[in-house]
Amino acid sequence: MSNHKIELTINGRQYSGDVEARTSLADFLRDDAGFTGVHLGCEHGVCGACTITVDGRAVRSCLMLAVQANGATVVTAEGLAAEDGTLHPVQQVMMEEHALQCGFCTPGVVMTLASLTGEGKQCSQAQIEGAMSGHICRCTGYQGIRRSAARLAYDAMGDSAQQGGDA
């Protein structure tokens, strides 16, 4: 089994590691880098709990090898709030809308929402809700997640126009 040296940026800081080829990015982030907010709900890419952003795009960290993240910029749910503890707008809206209960799927949901609604992004409510179909939540019945998506959309009226961009 081959081992590999990797260097990557996680939540704004540089990390390096020596990983076995088979180590998933999720396991590296949890076990080596200490970002246990990356949750493993299925390890086969369906539940979405392990969603992070890699170079700005939301991906499943269980479906990527750590070695493949060499040189990448990774953000996890731990990396969103401001240094003074002020919640990221996505986190604030989700708290206000009671969009979580047990909180296990939550970091993944946060990351998809943050990747779609950050500065300069213009996602419609329908696009965001479409992307939310990539997350399984067993607790909430998605009610607060849907309300959050509506509030975070650039067009809270629910523009369903699908123009090019993916969501």
Partner: protein
Amino acid sequence: MKPAPFDYYAPATISEACQLLSEASGGATVIAGGQTLMPLLNLRMSQPFILVDINNTAEMKGISAVDGGIRIGPATRQYEVLESELLVERLPLLVEAVRHVGHHQTRNRGTVGGSIALGEPAAELPACAVALGATIDIASVRGTRQVPASEFYLGPFMTVLEPDELVTGITFPAWPAGHLPLFSELAQRPGDFALVGVVGALALEAGKISRAGIAWMAMGPTPLKATAAEQLLLGKSLAEIDPQAVAEAAVAETAPFDDKRTSAEYRRTVGARLLARALRELTAQGEAA
């Protein structure tokens, strides 16, 4: 649920990749986006000795206009299809189809070539490749070859690819500007494999259908081209299409299967309705025009 051990290589060139596959004598697996392979590795349903990662292989990426069509590198990510102005304009079917491939988060990592090479009979992109008449470029240390998509698939998850071969490109022929895409898929939830689906494109010349490509998802062991239905469409104006007859002809050419998701008879029954519905919508467009 952790993968069995393997060695990992990320070749910079196609020839390096081919060399690795050749030396592995069948013990290597290519990883592109990994959105299907990683679950199989994690579940230990796939246990290669060597993983050949083509994500660092620059010549495997990109969407470009080529002589006679559009070429897509296999390591091109699915989201890039959605953001490609070239494809939105020239092959709108691909753009629509990719919206239904997996989820937003897997499209950010998953690749066009991965989906094409996997050969899932219920998948969108293989059906598009067959419907649009794409050619699959294949390389190995033994040389290169080109296989029409309609001949590429042998059965569920089985293709003509030999263990030492690699898909290096998918070339879609040019379709006339303004051709009409046709896409209809029924899946239990967004991102699930299709229970049944149909994709296609119709080109019109002087108001008559001059070119038709239609293919089924989940209606047989491979994506299936609906040749008889295509023949029924050729030469007709949109208003002249008999959606029901075309749909019935298209279903007659299929060999759907029973599985735990649904029955062959459900697929036939609903498949015909999906195609007829899609054609009626096109006909309505024709009447409106």
